[in-house]
Amino acid sequence: MNLLDIGQRPAKTHDHAHPHTHDHHHHDVHDHGHAPQVRAPRGKWIWYLAGAWLLVTSVYLVAADQQAVVTRFGRVVEPRVGPGIHISLPWPVDRVTKLKVQQLQRLVVGGNAGDSVTGRTQPLLSQFLTGDQNILHLRVVIQYSVGVPADYLFRSQDVSLLVGATVESELARRVARRTVDAVLTTEKVAIQEEVRGAAQIVINRNRLGVLLASVNIESATPPPEAADAFRDVASARADLSRIVNEAHGYANSVIPKARGEAQQMLESAQAYKLRKSNEAAGDAARFVQVADEYARASDVNGRRLYLETLEQVLPRIRKLVVDRNGNLDLTILRKGVEPAK
């Protein structure tokens, strides 16, 4: 009897936090001397309680999205327990800590989330210096999950602070090695990847137990003091492409038009050639026929043609007929209007 009591006592003493167990224990000691005959049924209660306690504290469930770390007297004995029902030694020997390993946690470096809501800027918080000594405002969102649960739980005091500071330092270093234009445009993705890679190496070295899912430059903007000048560069770039496009438009209208004109010139030249040769052929055929007729009686035909022509020509014109031997007074020509008397 005594042995049994004493054997249970250390375990019970550890269990002070459980008021029920303590009560029953007290009860047991009280009853000890007075009613030994009812000890057997009372003793049963202790076994039931011990059984329940074992069941409650040594069987644990790990949900599908969780992993668990089991420590025995503070020492890690199971660094990574997957989902399912598992058994451990009862509390307080073993302790089970469950972690949602896949859940992404979010951190913001640079301008913080409150800014966009209140519209207030915190220049010192978001200003970064670029390699060509320009000042830029950056806002970077980090997402990470638990990679090594035991490290995550036991290796550092404040994981998120360390992760944020590590990423920030890698970011600052990389931004300080690039020109402002590179950061704003072409190199953005490269910076993100480099920062993520480098920060992950540091995180692994310092055993923070964190897996960086992404480092995302959410906004990179010039400081408000120079924002309009940056905008002007953007509009100048737009002007450039507009002017060039207009010139292309001009070229695209001028050249086809010239081609059309060229075609027109060629077509009309062909038409001219055709007309000329056809006319010549026609004229020639006509001449040949008339000439053949003429040849048959050239004297008569010649005279006829001559007279016919004079008949056409002479009626239209003024005529002065002078005798072969007479003198011509040319003054009549000067008067012009008067016919010969």
Binding site: P10, T13, G33, R72, F73, G74, R75, V76, Q127, F128, L129, T130, I135, L153, S156, Q157, L161, L162, A165, S169, A172, R173, A176, R177, R178, N206, A229, V233, L240, I243, E246, Y250, A251, I255, A258, E261, A262, Q263, M265, A269, Y272, K276, A280, A281, A285, F287, V290, Y294, A295, G302, Y306, L307, T309, V313, L314, R316, I317, L320, V322, R324
Partner: protein, 292 residues
């Protein structure tokens, strides 16, 4: 009566002694075992450990901590001012020395601040601004500088305070507030230059494109003119050949016909013809049918 409680009392004493002899060391802690205030040894292995019941155990958090010193201004080797915001990742490495020299983390941070600040000041003083902030990656020396700085700080902190400096890093490099206005002015000037350059380049390209288009146009039109004139010439040549072939069959008739044709065109109503009565036409009119 009293005797009956002896075993109970012995058990209680035994439990207390047992309780005092075992202690659990968590993964996050160092335990310094002291005997009447005098440090004896450190337990760094997690798990259940044993000590004498009269000894006591002090727990030290051995996890990695972060310390953020306030941003401060440093002078670079080429006498430029930079505002550096750094952080220090550190942890307690030797609890015995730690407890003897600094005691608590807040005091440790004060010491760390001094160590890191002077190390930063010293190494920045030997580096030009261009090796820290530069668009030329080859000139960058920051990483190396920080590694040296970390090992220096670590050496100093470990030997003096039992503190391990895992990492000294620069979170932010900035220019002093009073310099910023001139930086903004410079940035603006730079942007204006770039904008002008873009526009000028646009004009250049546009002019080039237009000139090229005009050249092509001239090329096309002149080539077409050349071809067209050639074709017309062919036509002219062909018609001339046709005419000459036809006319050469009877050149006399052609001369007559062509001369008469010319008369029709030469004479109009403003023409005054002086006709001799002797002429072919009037001969008959003047002299009668039998005129010679």
């Amino acid at each position: 009566m009293n005797r009956r409680y002896y075993p109970v009392a012995a058990a209680v004493v035994g439990v207390v002694l047992l309780w005092r002899s075992f202690f659990a060391v968590r993964e996050t802690d160092f335990v310094l075992v002291t005997q009447f205030g005098r440090p004896l040894y450190t337990v760094s292995e997690a798990g259940l450990s044993i000590k004498w019941f009269f000894q006591s155990a002090t727990y030290f958090d051995k996890r990695l901590r972060i310390y953020n010193p306030r941003p401060s201004e440093f002078l670079t080797g080429d006498k430029k001012n930079l505002v550096i915001e750094s952080f220090v990742a550190w942890r307690i490495e030797e609890p015995q020395r730690f407890v003897q020299t600094v005691g608590d983390p807040v005091a440790a941070e004060l010491r760390l601040h001094d160590i890191v600040w002077s190390a930063l000041a010293a190494s920045l003083g030997t580096h030009d601004l261009e090796t820290i902030v530069t668009a030329n990656p080859e000139a960058a020396r920051m990483q190396q500088m920080l590694e040296n700085l970390t090992s220096q700080a670590d050496h100093a902190a470990l030997s003096q305070y039992g503190v391990r400096v895992v990492d000294v890093r620069i979170k932010r490099i900035n220019l002093p507030e009073q310099n910023k206005q001139s930086v903004f002015a410079r940035m603006r000037a730079e942007r204006e230059r770039i904008a002008r350059q873009y526009r000028a380049e646009g004009e250049e390209q546009a002019l080039r494109i237009r000139a090229d288009a005009d050249r092509q146009k001239e090329e096309i039109l002149s080539a077409a003119y050349k071809e067209a004139e050639k074709i017309k010439g062919e036509g002219d040549a062909e018609s001339t050949r046709t005419y000459s072939q036809a006319y050469s069959r009877n050149p006399r008739f052609y001369r007559l016909l062509r001369t008469l044709e010319s008369y029709k065109r030469i004479f109009d109503d403003k023409t005054t013809a002086i006709l001799s009565s002797d002429s072919e036409l009037l001969k008959v009119l003047m002299r009668g049918e039998n005129a010679p």
